[in-house]
Point group: C2
Chain length 124, copies 2
Amino acid sequence: MPMSDIYIPMTERSMQEPTLLLLTALADAPRHGYALIQEIAVISDGRVKMRTGTLYSALDRLLQQGLIRVERDEVIDGRARRTYALADAGRATLAAEADRLRAVVAEADRRLRTTRPTARGALA
Amino acid sequence: MPMSDIYIPMTERSMQEPTLLLLTALADAPRHGYALIQEIAVISDGRVKMRTGTLYSALDRLLQQGLIRVERDEVIDGRARRTYALADAGRATLAAEADRLRAVVAEADRRLRTTRPTARGALA
DNA sequence: CGACATATGCCGATGAGCGATATATATATC
DNA sequence: GATATATATATCGCTCATCGGCATATGTCG
C-alpha cells in the first residue's frame, strides 16, 4: 500500500532577510503592519520594499511561533489598525540570529582578506 | 480569454544562509563539494550540516549565475573530484552581502538596546 | 473626480533548501 | 570475508517563505 507519510522537517530553516528585518523593526517599539513596511524601508536604506503578502503571512507565522504578539487593536480615523510587539521569545531569537550572522560575516571578511589560489597553497 | 502570463520576479530574493556559507567557504581557497560540507560545518561551529541535495543544486545555480567556476576536475584515489573556485562576481557579491548583513545586525543590536514600550513612548 | 497615502488581507506561483535515495571506492574493525 | 564508516558526486519529490497581484475601504490633496 502507498504510504503517504507526512513530510516533517528535522532542522528549522534559517531566518530569511524579510523576517529578520521584521523582528528588527519591532525590537525598539511596537508597530502596526503598514508602519513596519515603512520602517523596514528605512532600516534597509530603501532597498527592501516589503510586499503586504510577505508582511501579513509573516506576521501570522511569527504570531503562531510566539515570537511576536498583538499589542492592541484600534480604529484610527476610521481605519482598522493592529499593533504588534516583539515577544520575549522573539527578542531572544533576534539576539541569537544577530550573533550567528555577526560570526558568519566576520568569517566571510576574514576569508576575503586571506585568499589563496588553491586549498593547499600551491600555485604554478 | 485566459491569459497564462509567465511569472517574472522583479526583485531577486536575498541570499539564504546555506548560500552565504558556501561562498564564504570558497572565499579563501578553491574547494571540492565534499570538502565544502566539512568546511561549512567548521565555519558554523557544527551547526550547519549541509545536505548534498542543497550543496550540488546550489553549486549548479551559482555556476549558472557566474558567482563560482569549476577550477579543475581530478581523480584522487579512484574517486572523481570537482573543485570549485569563487569567481570575481561571487567575490563582489559576498562582500556586498557581508556589508548588508553587518548593517542589519548593527541595527538589530541598536534597537534591542533602546527598547520603548510603545512607538510613541507612552505607557500605562 | 481622480490620484495617492493609509491600512489590512488573500491567493497562486516560484524556487531555495530539505530529506531520501543511489552509486562507487577506500579504509578500518571485527 | 563481512560490515561499517569516510570519501565523493548526483538526482528526485516535497515544503514553505517570499513574491506579485488583487481586493477592499477611508482620508487627503489638487
